[in-house]
Symmetry: C2
Subunit: 146 residues, 2 copies
Amino acid sequence: MFLSKSFGYALRGILYVALKDTEGRKVKLGEIAEKLSVPRHFLAKIMKLMVQEGILSSIKGPYGGFLLNENTLTAKLIHLVKITDGVEQFNTCVLSLRKCNSKNPCPLHYQMLKLRDGMLAEFSKTTIGDLLNQETPDFIKSISVI
Amino acid sequence: MFLSKSFGYALRGILYVALKDTEGRKVKLGEIAEKLSVPRHFLAKIMKLMVQEGILSSIKGPYGGFLLNENTLTAKLIHLVKITDGVEQFNTCVLSLRKCNSKNPCPLHYQMLKLRDGMLAEFSKTTIGDLLNQETPDFIKSISVI
DNA sequence: TCCAAAAAGGATATTGACATCTTTTTTGGA
DNA sequence: TCCAAAAAAGATGTCAATATCCTTTTTGGA
């Protein structure tokens, strides 16, 4: 709900690389797509976006693949949202009214403001590293089983 | 974000009827669509759904239109969501993982659970009447200006 | 220098939400 | 009884997100 499938693919993809990229091992697109049961070519575009945004690295050619870089673990979830969905989401009126604001609030304005600020705060502070550090029994399984 | 345009149309439509239906005056589809700047035929289907769900009434023929009934003001927002988007929204994993639950939580499970429960609670308790009763400078304007 | 493997890029389907148009049913009044 | 107006119903069109397929670029190693 409220976030696109693309966002889910991006997060699961980057987390998978983070889990597998140990001692310089590069992770191939095919492996990620297969293990996460995600459409390969669609995932390719999303991975590419993350590379372009600098929160992930890639190497072309044989023995190539995706790997972490110095920005990956500190990347905020809001950055992924920005890449896949656009952050305007957090600021658009739930009734699609462009003129909705505190001066001219829609009937749901304040209720939504509260909820949305909570989300925005959560997504602005949580990093990829934070998610990896939370103890989950079987992390790799949790992002793989659809 | 996270709610469809249909939900917005439904809510604004039912609120408009509630504001205009005084002393048995019926509100015509054309008037609602025009005043709210909403696509007429699309709105027609959504209004019909609300009638079928029993939270709004309608009368066919000349001098017909939409009007409130005994359920309108006590209808919960969650009911509108159910009609337009489906309530599964509130229970589906943000990463689209069907097997995500407390036994096998996705990396965002608990963060989202908290946020989602807040929303669900809000939408489960707030009624159409509640929205009408909150003091807004110019209510009709707030649902009309897009 | 050439080949194969991998990411990157681009072109084309598919699908569901959103929107529009047309026809049918209902009904109050002339 | 007939007509016009309104909701209801059904058919079709549009568009963006999602998905798939094909081509290009890059690069390590034989």
